[in-house]
């Protein structure tokens, strides 16, 4: 009798402890730029990630556990990233980690993930794993298996279809991780197409006046100007091109910031003629039906929180990053990092940004970066951007809605 009582008590305790574990939240940790130069994108990404968390929790969570986010502001400072992820894993004891937004904060986190053998889902980094070759690294950004090259492929493909073909190119960008990657891709394309590089220089990110740089570029008289820039320098370069009266056939390429509302409305008609990468255009909305699943809810919250009210650029991909991780956890029935990585490598995922499959190096298996040209912009209202009519998709072929209008300066008359 005594033994049976003890056995019943032990089984009861075991059942209690099992249910307690089942009810423990599944912690996902990350750093995110909530202040600093990339905070606009960081906050937009966070909204989408929280949307995913709330959607999953409304359905009972993952593996019967509610999702809980543990995140810190990385201040868009790469130096703060290693300590932040170490704290997430050692002190906060998170079960899973994902990255913040952008190359600059992903790259310093990769060595930490390698030490801990963590599966690392990342968001919009331009080839940060190129030098690490970490096998549990995955990237949500549709730049293809060779991201640096895939990023600017559309720009050079569109340029080489012009008649006569361009012969020279100027390459310029900020002294920072992402622009370096974008510029490396541009150099590779220039070499492939036999273009002579007549200007190839970087500038400090805190530059105030970009006119001297644009004048130096103009002095080399390039057919193409490829720019890899972050939001403040994107605005600076475009204003400088306007002030100097830059004469070239194509201008733009890898400018971050033109994808969201604040810079679009600030620059307005100055954007006419600029060629740049995009993730979405209203002109080809029928090819992106899946985005509508989250965009309405996102826009509602974004307006309240003062971040990008359009949200077609980053938020869907941030949501998709979490979807991939969530689907992998469900399929592998746990948080074993090796199993998660193995599953993500071999699976094609259904997400809000469409089907996603990964190449061996963790990048997207195929590229889907749109190269577009802005035109017909008359004012600075947000309404200009809510429907089709301002964007011509130049590349890739399956999304194409027109050809390049060159030279650049003629678009501004």
């Amino acid at each position: 009798m005594k033994f049976r009582n003890m056995l019943a008590a032990a089984l009861g305790a075991l059942a209690f402890s099992t249910s307690a574990v089942a009810q423990q939240p599944l912690k996902i940790g990350f750093g995110m730029s909530l202040t600093g130069a990339l905070a606009g994108n960081g906050k937009a990404a966070l909204i989408a990630m929280e949307q995913w968390r709330d959607d999953v929790n409304a359905k009972g969570g993952l593996l019967g556990r509610k999702i809980e986010f543990v995140y810190y502001d990385d201040q868009t400072s790469p130096a703060s990233v290693p300590a932040l992820y170490t704290k997430l894993m050692d002190v906060d004891k998170v079960d899973l980690v994902v990255s913040g937004y952008g190359t600059a904060v992903i790259a310093p986190a990769i060595p930490i993930m390698m030490q801990r053998n963590m599966c690392f889902m990342t968001l919009f980094g331009l080839n940060p794993n190129g030098k690490f070759n970490y096998d549990k690294y995955f990237q949500i950004m549709p730049a293809g298996p060779d991201p640096s090259v895939g990023w600017s492929k559309g720009y050079f493909d569109a340029a080489m279809k012009m008649n006569p073909k361009p012969k020279t190119v100027a390459i310029v960008g900020a002294d920072a991780e992402y622009p370096h990657g974008a510029m490396a891709g541009a150099r590779a394309h220039a070499k492939e197409h036999g273009l002579k590089v007549v200007y190839d220089k970087t500038y400090p990110p805190n530059t105030v006046d970009y006119a001297p740089i644009v004048r130096a570029i103009q002095a080399t008289n390039p057919d193409l100007v490829y720019v890899g820039s972050y939001p403040p320098d994107t605005a600076g370069m475009i204003r400088a091109a306007n002030e100097v009266g830059l004469k070239t056939r194509m201008f733009g390429g890898g400018m971050v910031g033109l994808q969201y509302a604040s810079l679009r409305t600030q620059l307005g008609p100055l954007l006419n003629g600029v060629v740049n990468y995009e993730m979405y255009a209203p002109e080809v909305s029928k090819k992106f039906p899946f985005l509508e699943k989250i965009i309405g809810k996102y826009q509602e919250r974004a307006v309240k929180e003062g971040v990008d009210p359009l949200g077609y650029y980053l938020p869907p991909y941030a949501y998709a990053m979490m979807e991939v991780l969530g689907q992998a956890v469900t399929a592998t029935k746990g948080t074993d990092q090796a199993k998660l990585a193995e599953y993500i490598h071999k699976t094609t995922f259904d997400t809000v940004v469409g089907k996603v499959a990964f190449a061996k190096n963790g990048e997207w298996a195929s590229s889907r970066v749109l190269m577009v040209q802005f035109g017909g912009i008359k004012g600075n209202s947000l309404d200009e951007w809510k429907g089709p009519g301002r964007i011509t998709v130049l590349e890739p072929a399956e999304y194409k809605t027109g050809t390049v209008r060159a030279p650049f300066q003629d678009n501004r008359k």
């Binding site: 909530l34 202040t35 600093g36 130069a37 905070a39 606009g40 960081g42 906050k43 201040q75 002294d175 220089k201 970087t202 500038y203 400090p204 990110p205 805190n206 530059t207 105030v208 006046d209 006119a211 001297p212 740089i213 004048r215 130096a216 002095a219 939001p231 403040p232 605005a235 600076g236 204003r239 306007n242 002030e243 100097v244 009266g245 910031g257 604040s262 810079l263 600030q266 100055l270 929180e305 003062g306 971040v307 990008d308 600075n380």
Partner: protein, 291 residues
């Protein structure tokens, strides 16, 4: 005009215009750090505060940001008075201004930034004026009004400050505080009051500089940190506490930056600017106009 001559003159003009803006953001530091020995590391945060206030008035009511900043400069002056009072009572009076005072201003910097994030969000904003996208061109030389207008406003502010400091009783008292506080006290003047008013003046200039910044560039709450090094470099190059020195130092650094960007590559610009600073300090340790 030949292309190279045109490039050369454009580089000089762009450098001077840029230097004018640098003078506006540095002159407040020249007063607080150079004259009063108050290491106000939070000065750039007040510049950004000025930017956002000017932006709000511009976006909501269509007011010109620079006019707004001049009208609201008494508010910044009052904020400066309050801030100095706290600093004086908590640190300077107790002789703890060196390290704890520095930490205090770091705290003010972060609190101001976070407040701006909470109130305005983190997106880049820029004021829109009729002159923002207008460039005048004479004989191949570009005069972008988004830099020309801030240049002249800055010039007026710096000259006005210099005149005020050298031709008024209060201005001379500020200069005296910088030189000998005891002597000033013996003359029956309260140096703490003079320092408070002078510090307030430096914060008032930050408000105007913020408006100039948001005419030139898009701004987000923590962008001010990027200019901390620059504003202190301008002050040291020009000579601590010298208003003319600040103006000349700013014009020298602006021209050096523009020249380097045009002819040698923009990534060399900081190295050339700070190299110039080091060279100047090697030959004139007190800066160009320092005593």
């Amino acid at each position: 005009m030949e292309a190279s001559t045109e490039l050369f003159i454009n580089a000089i003009v762009a450098g001077l215009l840029l230097g004018g803006f640098y003078a506006a953001v540095s002159v407040g530091i020249s007063i607080s750090f150079g004259m009063l020995d108050v290491v106000n590391i939070a000065h750039p945060a007040f510049i950004i505060l000025g930017s956002y206030i000017a932006y709000t008035a511009n976006a909501r009511f269509g007011f010109d940001p620079i006019v707004t900043s001049v009208v609201l400069s008494p508010l910044f002056f009052a904020l400066g008075l309050l801030l100095y009072r706290i600093y004086y009572l908590c640190f300077e009076k107790r002789g703890q201004e060196s390290l704890r005072g520095l930490a205090f201003f770091f705290g003010v910097l972060f609190i101001t930034e976070v407040t701006l994030v909470l109130v305005f969000g983190v997106d880049y904003v820029q004021a829109r004026t009729p002159y923002t996208d207008v460039t005048e061109r004479f004989a191949g030389i570009d005069f972008p009004l988004r830099l020309v207008v801030p240049f002249f406003v800055s010039l007026a502010m710096v000259i006005g400050l210099q005149f005020f400091l050298t031709h008024t009783f209060f201005g001379r008292a500020v200069l005296a505080v910088a030189q000998d506080q005891l002597a000033l006290r013996l003359m029956g003047v309260d140096p703490v009051r003079v320092k408070g008013l002078a510090f307030a003046l430096s914060i008032a200039t930050a408000g105007v500089a913020g408006a100039l910044l948001i005419v030139i560039l898009p701004v987000q709450p923590s962008i001010g940190r990027e200019y901390i090094g620059l504003v202190f470099a301008v002050c040291v190059l020009g000579g601590m506490g010298s208003i003319w020195g600040t103006l000349v130092g700013a014009l020298v650094l602006g021209t050096a930056e523009s020249f380097t960007a045009t002819f040698f590559g923009p990534s060399w610009a900081p190295a050339v600017s700070f190299g110039l600073l080091l060279a100047t300090l090697a030959f004139r340790p007190s800066g160009l106009f320092g005593r």
